[in-house]
């Protein structure tokens, strides 16, 4: 369960090149990408903070990022999920996520919550009226509540991924436990 204020970016089709531009993908570790999250929107002329961009506005804080539909489209770079997580977000809400981004987020403890367009709209409105509006996300119940309006939305999540997130299980441990089965599969498999 997470209750938090949220940072709204009501733009559609936010692609991974906006989330983390390619020139910041040169690192060989997973850490430190948060600094460059939305780099080219956050800074103009390279490093002058753009006061109009929401992440530079101290009024808006929180562990929930709310964005327009088709969030995370474009490249498969997991750096996009890393940078959002690294910047302190735990949940991203949109009415529609690009597939690869959604999977990458789930693999990194960042929960993508898909809500209806109407619910999303309600979230943007509540934040507009009150930047301190809070939202409550329950992974167990698969619900998100707009605490200002009381509206609740039940979201879908892959059952296996939910189990992993709740229990801190890891895909690779699971796959490694299947090694014998994979080796047996290989015996009957012909690859040309």
């Amino acid at each position: 369960m997470l209750q938090s204020t949220a940072v709204p970016i009501p733009i559609e089709d936010i692609d991974t090149d906006q989330i983390i531009p390619a020139r910041f993908l040169k690192a060989t570790s997973r850490e430190g990408f948060g600094e460059n999250l939305f780099r080219d929107w956050r800074y103009s002329k390279g490093d002058v903070p753009n006061p109009d961009f929401i992440l530079n506005n101290p009024t808006y804080q929180g562990q929930i990022l709310v964005a327009g539909k088709n969030f995370g489209c474009g490249s498969s770079r997991e750096h996009a999920a890393w940078s959002i997580y690294d910047a302190g977000f735990k949940v991203v809400v949109s009415s529609f996520f690009a597939d690869i981004f959604k999977g990458n987020a789930l693999n990194n403890g960042l929960l993508p919550v898909t809500v209806s367009p109407a619910f999303l709209d309600g979230m943007f409105k509540s934040i507009e009226q009150n930047p301190n509006a809070t939202f409550t996300v329950s992974l167990e119940d698969q619900t998100i509540r707009n605490d200002s309006t009381g509206a609740t939305f039940s979201f879908d999540i892959n059952a296996y991924k939910k189990m992993c997130l709740l229990n801190g299980y890891d895909d690779i441990d699971f796959l490694l436990s299947l090694k014998d089965k994979i080796a047996a599969f290989e015996k009957q498999q012909v690859i040309y």
Partner: protein, 464 residues
Amino acid sequence: MGKTLFDKIWDAHVVHTLEGGTDVLYIDKHFIHEVTSPQAFDGLRKRHIQVFRPNQTVATADHNVPTINQHLPINDPLSRHQVETLTRNCEAFGVPLYGLGHPYQGIVHVIGPELGITKPGMTIVCGDSHTSTHGAFGAIAFGIGTSQVEQVLSSQCVLQAKPMKMRISVEGQLKEGVLSKDIILYIISKLTASGGTGYFVEYAGSAIRSLSMEARMTICNMSIEMGARGGMIAPDETTFAYVKGREFAPQGPAYEEALAYWQTLYTDEDAHFDAEYVFDAADIEPMITYGTNPGMGIGITGHIPGMDEVENKVNYEKSLHYMGLDPGQELLGKRIEHVFIGSCTNSRIEDLRLVAEFLQGKTKSDHVQAMIIPGSKQVELQARREGLDKIFEAAGFFLREPGCSACLGMNEDKIPAGEYCVSTSNRNFEGRQGPGARTMLASPLTAAACAIAGKIVDVREYLN
């Protein structure tokens, strides 16, 4: 009920199914590159495990490499570090590497097919969204994130829910000057940048079947630009002829055996698709994009949509503002400063031949900077053998060395802020080709014609 091509291949690779429908999918071939693999190798080190099947992974350096003087050390220390890390990881874990200086080096989605590594019926993944390219051979190929790269390295499998299936048919004959790039830009403009999300696409129809393998790769390459997980085309005589005799293709009796299997790879007549679209090839003209996602494309003689024609006006305004264009505007005649011919979409030998043939006897406009980046070392050498580099030079172009280059602007090849680039790559996102760069996606022929004219033109006026 019959099976789709996709089902046939997917089902043959399921090792295990989890409750709730996620499959453990066996991966036949795994491609890696320097940008999305280092953290995955680190993960293996932390777990003290080896690569499970090192010979089923192939590595190359492409995203971050310079495209001139590749024989010299890389200038940028971060890029150099990333490329060296790949080399070290491949050595440590026994993964074959076609790195800088190797005759097989090139963009990962160009070298797989040209070496015969990519074959019908395979499952192929890579930490790169344009892995969909390999689907042109009738393979299930899709991009994955770094966590999944680690999954494949450690188990040769990925955890993946089965996507829905979509068929897109293009029927009839293409008009002159219309290339496969125009087909896919047209399809994306109709379906939008998110219209394929959740689906795996099969491209079918007589117009698709008439295409060469390289042209088919261009189509499958951009499947991801409408959000689809991947795209594929049933293998046929064109496919078999292309694969035959390549370095890693089966030879002799093994080829015959493979062929017999490949010939079973088609969608049964009574198979079900979750979504279907049919387009008429004759409706397609040379295409160009005007906005900041690949769905924002128009026929070259068309107008950018007016304000009243779009749904999300805020997004639309933001996008056109970035591009410095006005709603309702025509693009023909618009001055451009750069032309980029390259990327895994259009950098194969056929693309270069087509461009060279077009450029013969012409010279580029003085104010245009033109870059031609071959997709691989083999493409580069072939182009030089055929004398294409001489034609390019005479026209004011310059054939560089292989890599992703200005497709994503990780190396020095960037488009300056505010300037326009007609590009044969696949993404026109804000800043994709460099901060502030304005990208217009088009076919190699359209790009070449724009370079000559110094502005946006209809290539058909230059043919014959």
